[in-house]
């Protein structure tokens, strides 16, 4: 599925499912995608534009779900989540209404749009809600698989899609129920990435291997995930590095630390993400420039990993 954006892969697969299942409804908050045009054209009875009104979009989607539909709320990620956070709390967490919230632009995906369009806190916020699963998607094969999987979910699901067209990581969809996948095995420690940063983790692993440091790579894409399988997969790893395009407070790295703590594992962990004191980014000219501002360029990361004792 090379050269296909995650959102087009997602909507293409969902379109295929929706043609067979009238319960699948797209609720867009005035957000498009080339693949969504096909959905709108062929399935107008299953497409709703809620307008630039995410609160109404979330509520209408939840009302549809109460009547047995499988609604997908679609918007740019910060608006699909933080604009409606208290509604997600009441409708999807407290009332446990199964809506799939599809947010585009994970991390710095909308790189030059500035901090209103970056989303760097969503994992922390949404994983605090019982009944809400997060799918932090890392490639288009996974995006398509998550689209189909979402139709059968009994609880709410937040799908964070990258805006960029990224290289494929998977030949076939990974085991979504497990929530993570080993992309490169190792006994000398792990680089654990999520979303966009999983791609960086793979490049770093290759680079460091050339320097004699052999680290494995895991893609942690669902939260919560199968913790027992995760702990088993870690093996006797002497150390872990987590990489996320997200503030460090409460993000994926925090979740890994909590998991180790819950299982009584004292493995040293270095978390790479956005330091809180650096705040938001007003750097333009591409994602790499933005990440360099947080000392998360590949050179910075390689050096920090080599030097971390």
């Amino acid at each position: 599925m090379n050269n296909v954006s995650q959102r087009d892969a997602f909507w293409t697969r969902l379109y295929e499912v929706a043609r067979q299942d009238r319960r699948v409804i797209a609720v867009a908050a005035d957000m498009g995608a080339p693949a969504l045009d096909q959905f709108r054209r062929d399935l107008p009875g299953q497409f709703v534009n809620a307008g630039i009104a995410e609160q109404n979009g979330l509520l209408v989607a939840a009302g549809l779900a109460l009547e047995g539909k499988h609604p997908f709320l679609y918007a740019i990620a910060p608006f699909a989540t933080f604009r409606v956070l208290e509604l997600i709390r009441v409708e999807n967490s407290i009332m446990d209404i199964p809506v799939t919230i599809v947010g585009v632009g994970a991390g710095f995906g909308y790189e030059d749009s500035g901090p209103t369009h970056h989303i760097l806190e969503d994992i922390a916020a949404l994983r605090a809600f019982p009944h809400v699963t997060i799918h932090s998607v890392s490639d288009s094969t996974m995006a398509a698989a998550v689209a189909e999987h979402s139709c059968g979910m009994k609880h709410a699901n937040y799908v964070r899609l990258d805006r960029a067209v990224l290289p494929e990581l998977y030949q076939a969809a990974p085991d979504l129920a497990k929530g993570f996948a080993v992309l490169r095995p190792s006994k000398a420690g792990w680089l654990i990435g999520t979303g966009y940063m999983t791609h960086k983790a793979l490049r770093l692993a290759n680079r460091l291997a050339g320097e004699g440091l052999d680290l494995g790579v895991m893609d942690l894409f669902a939260m919560p995930f199968d913790e027992k399988a995760f702990v088993a997969a870690l093996g006797k790893a002497p150390r872990l590095f987590t990489l996320e395009e997200h503030f460090l407070a409460g993000g994926m790295g925090s979740l890994v630390l909590e998991t180790l703590n819950r299982h009584g594992l004292a493995i040293p962990v270095k978390r790479f993400g956005l330091e809180m004191d650096k705040g938001y980014s007003y750097v333009y000219g591409g994602r790499d420039r933005i990440l360099a501002g947080y000392e998360l360029s590949e050179d910075d990361l390689a050096k920090a990993i080599r030097n971390w004792k």
Binding site: R22, I25, G45, V48, A50, G51, A53, Q55, N56, L58, L59, V60, A61, A62, G63, L64, A65, L66, E67, G68, K69, P71, E86, L87, V90, E91, I94, M95
Partner: protein, 275 residues
């Protein structure tokens, strides 16, 4: 019909008041303002429902968007047999399903609701689903007027008007009061008719304590020719029937205690007799 409903409304209000007095909590005044509205909906033939089958597919949905009026709805549901009436004694008590704000765990309650500006949008989604499936049931929802300060209400009003959800009936309990003050004093909501009309709704304005008015407004609601959703602006008094609580913001969210509790019950009885 109106006389029967009046007697039923008094019985329900008395039970609601006793329930809140026993629990020492509950939004009594918010419940009193909508007592006649709920009585008309559930006993005046407007709503189609079956207490023995709370999940009956063809039931009309009733969404209490002003979730703080839960004591009134719980009382109505218990009285209808959705659950044993005696269970109301567990309102806000250990071992009961009844939160001070509406809880979905109570048989007959469609949603959990306490935060405002939620139920109305859910109701619109449910009405849209009914439209998609060509089902004939209606979706009724009761909003508070203070709830109309929430932006989400107007997002949904615009949406329901545009999509011509004429299977959606909203009733606004227009009691003119919020927690701190009267609406028109601190942030005017009027003119309400013009606002709803501008959002594409058919608007009726009634005395929300008059059964004749309410019955008339709901007459033929199942066979309306209009493609517009219907909103009934029901002018009410917060705390109606209990003189010292009525139109007195300090009584928001509270139940009377001790001597005041007895006085409230006496005043409620007197007002039912005098009307």
């Amino acid at each position: 019909m109106a006389a029967t409903l009046k007697a039923k409304a008094y019985e329900l209000k008395k039970t609601m008041l006793e329930t809140c007095i026993r629990a020492g909590t509950g939004h009594v005044t918010s419940s009193l303002s909508c007592a006649e509205i709920l009585t008309t909906l559930f006993h005046g033939g407007a709503l189609r429902f079956d207490p023995k089958r709370p999940a009956w597919e063809d039931r009309d949905r009733f969404i209490l968007s002003k979730g703080q009026a839960s004591p009134m709805l719980y009382t109505v549901l218990g009285d209808l047999g959705y659950f044993p009436k005696e269970d109301l004694q567990k309102f806000a008590q250990a071992g009961g399903p009844f939160g001070v704000h509406l809880q979905k765990s109570v048989p007959g309650a469609e949603i959990t609701c306490g935060s405002l500006g939620h139920g109305f949008g859910l109701a619109a989604g449910m009405a849209l689903a009914a439209r998609m499936d060509r089902r004939n049931h209606l979706v009724f929802t009761l909003l508070g007027d203070g709830e109309c300060y929430e932006g989400s209400i107007w997002e949904t009003a615009l949406f329901a008007g545009h999509h011509r959800l004429n299977n959606l009936v909203a009733i606004v309990d227009r009691n003119y009061q919020c927690v701190l003050d009267f609406t028109e004093n601190f942030l005017a909501l009027e003119p309400m008719e013009k606002k709803w009309e501008a959002f594409g709704w058919r608007v009726k304005r009634v005395d929300g304590h008059s059964f004749d008015d309410l019955l008339d407004a709901l007459k033929g609601v199942r066979s309306r020719r209009s493609v517009q959703p219907l909103v009934i602006l029901a002018d009410t008094v917060k705390g109606a029937g209990v003189g010292f609580m009525a139109c007195n913001p300090i009584w928001h969210g509270a139940a009377p205690r001790g001597d005041e509790a007895q006085q409230a019950l006496r005043e409620l009885e007197r007002s039912a007799r005098d009307e």
